[in-house]
């Protein structure tokens, strides 16, 4: 993890930010997007206040949504626009993976920053453990972004991309979602949840997937 590596990651990340959030409307769009997603959840749960565990599930569905929207952009559009060759000529797979994964994480965390408070307000769940909520969301976002980036990276290079993506992403996504739900259940007041160990395993998954990602990506890089 030397300085050239960091420089390359920064270059990829900078390019991603420029392309996707260029101009005045980037942040505003993120905000409107987040409010829209939460309103959907609010409307869905109007009647019958959701239990802590369902509330946690809903929140993760919204975050997964934000993540998948970003994912398609970062990896698939490189292939669709045909710029993947340029990238392969200029860059190394490791930094490319990391730059894009970090972008996905940042986007997801920006959305989460808006989504979580709004969710608490609109869906009227009670936060009994704010610190647990914050750390759960952060670790979960990191894990989700890592998994989704990995799936996108693999899928983007595969012929008949879709099938592969479908087959690999579900088994990877579900553990993250399950752990994320357990973590937030505790935060929303379900005492039976073993939330801190779930947060730990979320962190573990985030680290594992994002350190595995570059190797997998390198393996499909010049096929």
């Amino acid at each position: 993890m030397n300085s050239s590596w960091a420089r390359e990651v920064a270059a990829i990340l900078g390019k991603e930010l420029r392309v996707e959030l260029r101009g005045r409307v980037g942040l505003y769009s993120t905000l409107v997007f987040a409010v829209g997603a939460v309103t959907a959840l609010g409307i869905a749960s109007i009647r019958g206040e959701p239990s802590p565990s369902l509330a946690a599930g809903l929140l993760w569905v919204a975050l997964l949504f934000a993540c998948v929207v970003g994912l398609a952009r970062t990896f698939l559009s490189e292939e669709e626009q045909g710029t993947a060759d340029l990238l392969r000529l200029l860059a190394n797979p490791g930094p490319v993976f990391w730059g894009k994964a970090v972008f996905n994480m940042l986007l997801l965390i920006a959305v989460a920053l808006f989504v979580v408070p709004l969710f608490v307000l609109f869906v009227k769940v009670e936060v009994v453990a704010p610190f647990l909520l914050i750390s759960g969301v952060l670790c979960g976002c990191a894990g989700l972004a890592a998994v989704v980036s990995m799936c996108g990276a693999l899928a983007s290079r595969a012929q008949g991309r879709g099938l592969l993506m479908g087959v690999i992403s579900l088994p990877l996504l579900l553990p993250v979602l399950a752990a994320g739900i357990t973590a937030l259940r505790g935060a929303f007041g379900d005492p039976s949840a073993e939330s801190w160990s779930a947060v730990a395993s979320l962190g573990g998954m985030a680290v594992a997937f994002s350190s595995l990602g570059p190797y997998l990506y390198a393996a499909v890089w010049k096929q």
Binding site: G23, V25, S29, F122
Partner: protein, 242 residues
């Protein structure tokens, strides 16, 4: 000038009425229900401005004349202002009358959806590189957005999605639950607020048209910033026709 003096007088008048008016009957808290004057008219008028914005958008798409686009944005901006006003006064109202800022009451929900729809309008509008394309796409969106209004205003609240606390309030105002003086005050406020915001609309349109002129004179009127008008350019013949 006359217009502004009128607005000033009207403002003073309404404030005076507001201070002197008796509490509104039919509400849990009669005295504080006077916020009604600043809640219901904006809520009614914002839809009016949004619809006007859509009408101007249609005229833009038919004529491709950017002045209509300016009117369309102006109307939508003013409408959004009114919409924010209705939502905020409504929230205060709700806190006092129902005890919570937000309840997902059908009216609350529908106005909030409307607010979001037009918030997205601005995101779309400022995402295009050229003014003409931005005008065309945001006009199309404005028309599409206006199509949702009937569903939001008439159909959704009638689907019994949610128990509505607004029903009683609606009864109090529209169902004739208010006494005659009250009704007079109410309609006076409505007209005054309409005039106020019509004025804001006018100002915004004037400003927008000035912007258009500047944009055009950059290229057309002064002959382009980087080249004098070269006159007519014709092909030269390379060989005679056989």
């Amino acid at each position: 000038m006359i217009y502004r003096i009128f607005l000033l007088l009207a403002g003073i008048g309404v404030t005076a009425l507001y201070v002197w008016a008796p509490g509104a009957k039919g509400f849990p808290q009669e005295e504080s229900a006077k916020i009604l004057f600043f809640h219901v008219p904006p809520a009614m008028l914002c839809t009016l401005f949004y619809l006007w914005g859509a009408v101007m958008a249609i005229r833009y798409l038919m004529s491709k004349d950017l002045r209509f686009d300016v009117r369309s944005v102006a109307a939508i901006e003013v409408g959004t202002l009114l919409c924010v006003l209705a939502t905020v006064t409504g929230m205060v109202f709700a806190k006092v009358q129902w005890g919570a800022f937000w309840e997902w009451d059908p009216r609350q929900t529908s106005i909030f959806i409307q607010l979001l729809i037009y918030a997205a309008y601005f995101a779309l509008r400022y995402s295009f590189p050229t003014p003409v394309r931005s005008a065309a796409y945001s006009s199309a969106y404005a028309i599409f957005a206006a199509l949702t209004a009937p569903f939001l205003i008439f159909i959704l609240p009638r689907l019994n999605l949610w128990p509505s606390s607004h029903a009683g309030a609606n009864q109090a105002v529209v169902g004739g639950g208010l006494d005659p003086t009250y009704r007079t005050i109410f309609y006076t406020t409505l007209v005054v607020i309409l005039l106020c915001f019509a004025w804001a609309y006018k100002v915004r349109v004037r400003e927008g048209e000035e912007g258009l002129l500047k944009e055009v004179s950059d290229g057309l009127a002064t002959g382009g910033s980087d080249s004098p008008d070269p006159g007519v350019v014709r092909p030269v013949r390379l060989r005679d026709r056989d």
